[in-house]
Structure formats: structure tokens, C-alpha cells
């Protein structure tokens, strides 16, 4: 039986790992390869690197650190940040990334998802969705890496999640912005709602603060993976202990 995935997310800016709260006030967390190694050894199932300054600056991800990571670690990793065409995606994948995640550029031009799926297969194409509650519904946000330039693309989260699947996305990372960085738990209600129409793997993102939050996401929202940054980077939750505890609660995790 396939195991759920615990996925540390490393926000990258100028080649360093950083972390902010509600997408602001970024602090330096260390060197990319050092952190990648640490998480690989701790039993992380996958890593995600977001080049958070790429999309707002209208440039693509820096290939050099993708290569450094690929040389160093032997678990899958995904790269996101300003990938807006097939050629850039090819460079990132050839540098050693297993998947590419597209977010803002896919909102600029949804056909990008189909082009990437045709070129590399759906399994390589992750749709990242930044979602925020607006009155009684969830709405998508664009360019969230830079709060001053954040854009409302006027799209409903539910319909966008369905559209990216139709276009060929092989996985969805749903980042619930209201919960991000505040450690009060994943947005279970939103994840459950998206799960109802999500046929591809769904990854929860935003809000992990305790081991119970992970259990809740797997049990109640039936997500395939849970992404977290703050609790892992700070050492508040250690992956080996989290896995033991989840296993004790009947969740299938990798040893």
C-alpha cells in the first residue's frame, strides 16, 4: 500500500532557504544542500523547493542549485518558481528535478499545464494553488511570493482545481493561505472539499503546527501528502518521531 508523504517545503530566495509568516518577513534558514541532506536523512519522503522570488521578478528558477540538490540527494524533489515555458521546465528536469510545480504562470496562461504534460507526462506536472477565503468561498491568488505585487486572478479555487486536472496536472498542492505559517492546523474543510473532485494526488499545505494536524489531514481530508515548513525547519517536529506516532495511529508511512 502506498504510504502518505511527508514533504518539507524549502522556500528559496537568492540560493538560500528562507521562511516567512503569512508570506512575509523572511528569515534565513540555511544552505539548500545542507537542509536537503538533513531532511533526506531524517526520512522526508519528498522535498519541494519554491524559488519564491522568481515569479514576482518575472524570471525563472536558478538551475545551478537544482543541480547541486540533484547530485546530493536520492529522494524525489519538486521545483517551483517562475517556470513559464517548456524549455525552462526541460532545463529544470534535466538538472535533476523529478517534478515541476507551476502556479502563477499557469494562471497567466493555463495552456502551459497541457504543454508541460504533453512534453514530460502528467507525473512531472504539479499544479500549485494558493487559495484564500473570500466571504463564503475560496479564491485563488497569484504572485504570492511578493505580497506587494500579489494579484487576484478572479478565479474560484474549486473550478481552478478541476481545470488544472483537465489540462493534465498530475498532482495538486493546495496551499491554504489563511492557515499558512500560523501553525493552527491544515484547512481541513477546504482540503476535504477539493478532495471530492481531485482524482490526482492532493498535497495539503499551510498550517501544520502539531502532529495531530498531520493525522487530521490524512484521516479526515484523505490527502496523499502533507507539506510543511516552519515546524520542520524549527525542529519543533522531528520527522522520525512524527512517522512513528502516525504509524501508531494507523497511518501507512515509510520507515
Amino acid at each position: 500500500m502506498v504510504a502518505v508523504r511527508l514533504i518539507p517545503c524549502l522556500d528559496v530566495r537568492d540560493g538560500r532557504v528562507v521562511k516567512g509568516v503569512r508570506f512575509r518577513n523572511h528569515r534565513d534558514m540555511g544552505d539548500i544542500v545542507d537542509l536537503a541532506h538533513r531532511y533526506r536523512d531524517a526520512g522526508a519522503d519528498e522535498l519541494v523547493f519554491y524559488d519564491i522570488s522568481a515569479s514576482p521578478q518575472k524570471r525563472s528558477v536558478d538551475i545551478a542549485w537544482v543541480e547541486r540538490v540533484a547530485e546530493a540527494i536520492d529522494i524525489p524533489f519538486c521545483v517551483a518558481g517562475g517556470i513559464r515555458d517548456v524549455e525552462t521546465a526541460r532545463a529544470v528536469l534535466h538538472a535533476g528535478a523529478d517534478k515541476i510545480s507551476v502556479n502563477s504562470p499557469a494562471l497567466e496562461r493555463p495552456a502551459l499545464i497541457g504543454e508541460l504534460a504533453d512534453a514530460f507526462g502528467s507525473q512531472c506536472v504539479v499544479a500549485g494553488i494558493d487559495s484564500i477565503r473570500e466571504n463564503d468561498r475560496w479564491r485563488v491568488r497569484q504572485y504570492t511570493g511578493d505580497p506587494d505585487n500579489m494579484v487576484d486572478p478572479r478565479r474560484d479555487t474549486m473550478s481552478w482545481a478541476e481545470e488544472v486536472q483537465r489540462l493534465g496536472a498530475g498532482e495538486i498542492v493546495l496551499n491554504c493561505m489563511d492557515a499558512d505559517g500560523v501553525r493552527e492546523g491544515y484547512d481541513i474543510e477546504q482540503l476535504k472539499t477539493v478532495r471530492t473532485t481531485c482524482k490526482v494526488p492532493l498535497i495539503a499545505s499551510g498550517g501544520a503546527g502539531s502532529r495531530e494536524h498531520f493525522l487530521q489531514a490524512f484521516r479526515e481530508a484523505d490527502v496523499d501528502g502533507a507539506l510543511a515548513a516552519t515546524v520542520f525547519h524549527s525542529g519543533q517536529i522531528a520527522i522520525p518521531e512524527l512517522k512513528d506516532w502516525l504509524r501508531g495511529h494507523g497511518v501507512v508511512v515509510r520507515n
Binding site: M1, V2, A3, V4, R5, R40, D45, A70, E71, D74, I75, P76, R90, L93, H94, A95, G96, A97, D98, F120, G121, S122, Q123, C124, G170, E171, K199, V200, P201, D224, G225, R254, N255
Partner: protein, 195 residues
């Protein structure tokens, strides 16, 4: 020892070479028939669609070259599927080194496709690739199609049972990605290098 990694055109071929490098083995990424024929070991990796990859091998004139190899050959992921007789994905004739047709995984409504993530395998036959592994290990899979279990030495399950590792003579292949499967994957690769 020379190791040829066949450049089947898919993405992420570098990862296989990085993994070999971490084991102290250097390899060459190539479509050169002579380099492939004369290598001590050959790896056929692959990410992408079967029809597209067979087309690439045909164009490079490598179909008969691969069929004629007598040294140890390791297929990885799509490489396993290409070793079979045919694939439902694009309805294409494959290399025919392992009997059977590759079909889309049949999963219920509670399971996701592609089968993406870490899963375990059940070793049902003795094989050099499985040396030192007891079925408790986890391997990283990413695929939507799979080969039947008839010629499997290891079997995995996602909605249905499918071949995780196959073997016929000098040709062996794994559906998972050993280069992305942490310590367990490194063991598979070092078993291949030592066999």
C-alpha cells in the same frame, strides 16, 4: 567497468548517473550503438510515454541493438515497460524482451492515478537484484501503466498487483526508481553493479 545509460530522451536521466556516481561508478549517457554494445553494464531508464520513447529508440536505431545485448541490462520505470512485448499506452509494440503486455493500472475510486509515492514490494523469486532486501523496504514509484506479474521476481500493489521487478536472463528491470529510493534504491543499484 563501463556503464552505458541509454539516452531515451526522457527527462531526469541525470538522476540515474548521479546515483551511480554516489556509488563510486561513472557512467556515460549515450545513444551510440558501439558504446552501448561494448559497455559492461547497460541501463535503460525512461520517463514519459511508451509510444514516444519507442519512437525515439527506433529513430536512434537502437531497437535491435538493445535486443541483441548479452551483458547485464537494467530497465528503470518506463524502461521496464519498454522491455515488454507491447504497451496499451499509445498501443505500441515494445522490445519484446519480457513476455506480456503493459496495461493501465486498474484502481478503484479510492485510489489515485498515477501511482505516485513510496510503496513496498514482495520478493516472490530469488534474484541478484534483491540481495540483502527482505520486503520491508520502501521504493519510490511514479507510473500509471504496469506490467503483469507473470515474470515478476518482485510484486507490488496499487489497486491491483503488478510487476515491481522483472527478470529474463541478462535483462532485468524495476518499475520503481532506485535512483530516487534512498538507501533501498542504492542497494538495488549496487546489486546490479556487482552482479
Amino acid at each position: 567497468m563501463t556503464i552505458a545509460v541509454i539516452n531515451s530522451g526522457g527527462a531526469n536521466l541525470g538522476s540515474v548517473q548521479h546515483a551511480l556516481h554516489r556509488l563510486g561508478a561513472e557512467s556515460v549517457l549515450t545513444t551510440d550503438a558501439e558504446v552501448i554494445r561494448s559497455a559492461d553494464k547497460v541501463i535503460l531508464p525512461g520517463v514519459g510515454a511508451a509510444a514516444w520513447a519507442m519512437n525515439a529508440l527506433n529513430k536512434a536505431g537502437l531497437v535491435e541493438v538493445i535486443r541483441g545485448l548479452t551483458q547485464p541490462v537494467l530497465g528503470i520505470c518506463l524502461g521496464l515497460q519498454l522491455m515488454c512485448e507491447s504497451s496499451e499506452e499509445g498501443d505500441v509494440e515494445c522490445l519484446g524482451l519480457i513476455p506480456g503486455r503493459v496495461r493501465k493500472l486498474q484502481v478503484g475510486k479510492d485510489l489515485r492515478l498515477p501511482h505516485m509515492g513510496w510503496n513496498q514490494v514482495d520478493w516472490v523469486g530469488e534474484d541478484p537484484l534483491g540481495q540483502g532486501l527482505d520486503g520491508s523496504e520502501w521504493f519510490y514509484f511514479v507510473h500509471g501503466y504496469a506490467a503483469p506479474v507473470d515474470h515478476a521476481v518482485a510484486i507490488s500493489e496499487h489497486g491491483q498487483r503488478f510487476a515491481a521487478v522483472v527478470r529474463r536472463g541478462n535483462f532485468a528491470a524495476c518499475q520503481f526508481h532506485p535512483e530516487k529510493s534512498a538507501g533501498a534504491g542504492a542497494r538495488i543499484l549496487s546489486n546490479f553493479l556487482e552482479a
